[in-house]
Symmetry: none
Subunit: 285 residues, 2 copies
DNA sequence: TCCAAAATGGAATTTTAATTCCAAAAGTGG
DNA sequence: CCACTTTTGGAATTAAAATTCCATTTTGGA
């Protein structure tokens, strides 16, 4: 009760004007910075130069960084229209990881509205695909990718393992490698013939699997590890069971629409990997 | 004595090893995730999927996000070798500013360094994929898409035809239809067994092919047309030979990097089509 | 040079979050 | 089926950080 009434009052007072986007914040900062008192200006300059620190620092840390007192930081925040530092920090924190969260809400909306038109659904997949691609650039470690290419370029024969949802990825890899004359075996599971024993110590396996992980993929990976073959894993998270096999991990976090994913990111990663390997192999030949 | 020796042990245990880089952390996570108790594993998965949240969230927020108790978060942190959450968060915060530069800046940097590294190639595919997706929305006629969905929802059995470069598309369709209990046959060409004669008048064929067009796809489409089955074509241009068969055409113009394409647009279109068909079929049931 | 207003530093207080602790529940091996 | 260990949830405690307050200093105008 007490809290509620207090909050109402505070909200009213601050409804005044608190920037609600980072851009609005910096616009305001640009306008008012000139006629701020010395210490506040000093702090404003620091923020302008180190905007990324706001989200992950305490008042004391920022104060020390800008060489001002913590109370000066508080005054600055209030000067900028916030009720305090916490509110300002909330803004900086939310702007950082906003890409992801609001997709899950959008997804719910889609579920509520049912299936709508096919075009709307297509738009959804396109949108999610674009976000996934963008994210791909952030999550794939250039070093790991380079390492994967090296390993695959050195290997004798490549083995492509991935079933169900991952099969489009491996089958496309098979196509690409064939076009580039790279010896690659697509483990298809046809006729329940186990191709494990084809894997030789000098070979390498590209294992593709996403949660829920396909057991057969894990089995083949294990066999490969025992044989001594290298493993490159295209999977979704580091806690993937493929981690056990000392694989070189390439992580793809693909957003989904309902129960399905567009696979855009996974395929892009796969084809980039394939082309790089093909190029490196044909160079050394 | 007793106390002294105990303290020594404790000190030894805690100086143990706390990961001092993000990479080390995730390496350790990958190793130990397997044999973590249920709730801790649950939280580990959440962290693996949302690593960027750790730097800017409180224990309570993360706990809520992973749907575990705050104390479980603490236990997890200790299990990973930290003294507590604060220490772990410090690690994530220290590497925060390095991730701050977003996708577009990262891409520019890669561009400058030339097209040598695999990462640069990946960036190329990502960029091209995004453009293709954008283009897709423009080239696909909502009316044609709706028409295709109607036809496929009415059909008895669906036949998925597409080879070589188009095979990832048809195999993903097969996966999607299976998951939605829609009867669909993937024409795989295995063992050179011709599955033409499976196509009945009330069936429909989804034919996928891009230049240079695969003859077998055209042959099956022709057979289907003779039988009286409907044809939905996913292809690249209106002059595609599939046009001859009075097919409903869905056009995808996929940009390429060198001789290869990322297939992002084709797969997005395919999955949107599949989900729409599945929804419409299960609605009428 | 003096006064009033504004600004500042730092300690005191309040709020919030991290951490510990313990009883209850869920497994496990005999 | 029982004793014993591990795991879990949630409350209690402790630590840390945000925020306020006020005495002191600085600034600018008469």
């Amino acid at each position: 009760m007490n809290d509620a009434s207090q909050e109402t009052v505070e909200a009213h007072v601050s409804s005044d004007n608190a920037p609600d986007t980072i851009d609005a914040f910096f616009a305001r900062l640009g306008n008012t910075a000139e006629d701020l008192p010395k210490r506040l200006k000093q702090f404003a300059d620091f923020i302008a130069a180190n905007p990324d620190r706001v989200a992950v620092s305490t008042v004391a840390e920022l104060a020390q960084g800008a060489d001002v007192q913590p109370s000066a930081v508080m005054r600055f925040c209030q000067e900028m229209g916030f009720t305090g530092f916490s509110q300002m920090q909330r803004l900086f924190r939310s702007s950082f990881s906003q890409k992801w969260p609001d997709y899950s809400t959008r997804l719910e909306k889609l579920r509520e509205h049912g299936t709508e038109s096919p075009s709307a659904l297509l738009a959804e997949f396109v949108e999610v695909g674009r976000a996934s691609l963008e994210n791909l650039m952030a999550t794939v470690e250039p070093r790991a990718l380079q390492q994967a290419v090296d390993v695959l370029a050195r290997a004798e024969t490549l083995h492509l393992v991935g079933f169900r949802r991952a099969f489009p990825v491996t089958s496309y890899l098979a196509y690409a490698f064939e076009k580039m004359d790279v010896p690659a075996v697509l483990h298809s599971g046809i006729a329940n013939i186990n191709m494990d024993h084809l894997i030789k110590p000098n070979d390498a396996v590209i294992a593709v699997t996403f949660a829920p992980y396909t057991q057969m993929t894990l089995d083949i990976a294990e066999k490969a590890r025992e044989t001594g073959a290298d493993i490159v894993a295209i999977t979704d998270v580091v806690t993937s069971p493929l981690a056990r096999f000392k694989a070189i991990q390439l992580l793809v976090s693909e957003l989904d629409v309902g129960a399905f994913r567009a696979l855009s990111a996974s395929l892009s990663l796969a084809i980039a990997l394939a082309v790089s390997v093909g190029a490196q192999r044909n160079k050394t030949n």
